[in-house]
Symmetry: C2
Subunit: 198 residues, 2 copies
């Protein structure tokens, strides 16, 4: 069977995800990961050349998942304002499996700020989303559904909202219903963008 190998690989990735999130990249040792995965060190280094390769694979998978969710939000709806409100629908999906992926998200960010390879992997999709938001806003301004705001700033504001909510949810998980708060916050922000009613 070919599945044994793939299963081992998947176990390693899952274990790494868990331990990177729980302990951080440095503190989670290869041995820890192997133990968690129920796999030997030999198996680990058979499937991945380095510890960092595992990390990069997890980052890659995560970004792919994000892409899929955004693509879903994009479907239907021509209006720029509508697309944003649809993204609210993506919020539950992002927060759902939060326990594991939220700490990893922070770990990704921390590594990106000092590791060239991680940075390269992170920065491209970040800019893509950001610029996509900016063009959406530009379009919305042209359509008259948005006030004449600076698209650059507004796009970064949206990203800041997303990132900031994720981080607060990570720091203080049980305190709030972060889905509801994010949705409400999006509404407030959209008020700031939306053209005045006459």
């Amino acid at each position: 069977m070919q599945t044994r190998s793939e299963e081992t690989r998947a176990n390693i990735l899952q274990a790494a995800l868990t331990l990177f999130a729980r302990l951080g990249y440095e503190a989670a040792s290869v041995e820890d990961i192997c133990a968690e995965a129920g796999v030997s060190k030999g198996a680990f280094y058979h499937h991945f050349p380095t510890k960092q390769a595992v990390f990069l694979q997890l980052l890659h998978d995560w970004l792919d998942g994000l892409d899929a969710q955004f693509a879903q939000a994009r479907q239907g709806a021509e209006n720029a304002a509508q697309i944003f409100m649809r993204m609210t629908a993506a919020v539950p999906g992002i927060f759902r499996d939060a326990d594991q992926r939220l700490p990893m998200f922070l770990e990704f960010w921390a590594q990106a700020s000092r590791d060239e390879a991680v940075w390269q992997t992170t920065i491209a999709p970040y800019r893509r989303y950001r610029d996509y938001f900016a063009s959406l806003i530009e379009q919305g301004v042209a359509e008259g559904v948005f006030r004449p705001v600076e698209p650059q700033a507004a796009a970064r504001l949206i990203v800041a909202l997303a990132v900031g909510m994720l981080l607060q949810g990570l720091l203080d998980p049980q305190e709030d219903d972060w889905q509801a708060i994010t949705t409400e916050s999006l509404k407030i922000m959209m008020n700031g963008l939306a053209a005045q009613k006459e």
Copy 2:
């Protein structure tokens, strides 16, 4: 003189700040820090009981600095909306020495999510600021300068904006003028909060 001791201590803190930011908490070894500070390992452990104690001290100092800047923003101005706009004035101060403190900010957050001592130190001021914002907004709503928004959500929105901007500035430092963008974003968000003009 007593100053020699204090100078050594200050050197260690400065070196630790630099290296924690550049390499991360785990990767920055005590020896590295000592080398950077021009100090022996003995001196290090004379002034601090553990590596983590240095980290906590840096965190403490940073939070104190933030407190001071917020207190300054609070001065004058009774109106809730005015206080927020004054906080724009604090933005340059936060971004100014960014090279060193921004990566550390992320390091603080990452550690806080898994280290109990760091979490305790972080969560209290976080909640303080957040709740202060919420009460400001509540007041603003009562005064009629803000729309009837949910104060809880709005406060978290503001924190998210701050945190999200800091993180973007960290990830993509040279790309943008983050001061200007943060200011402009604040303006957009205040539009979302401000009561409709009649």
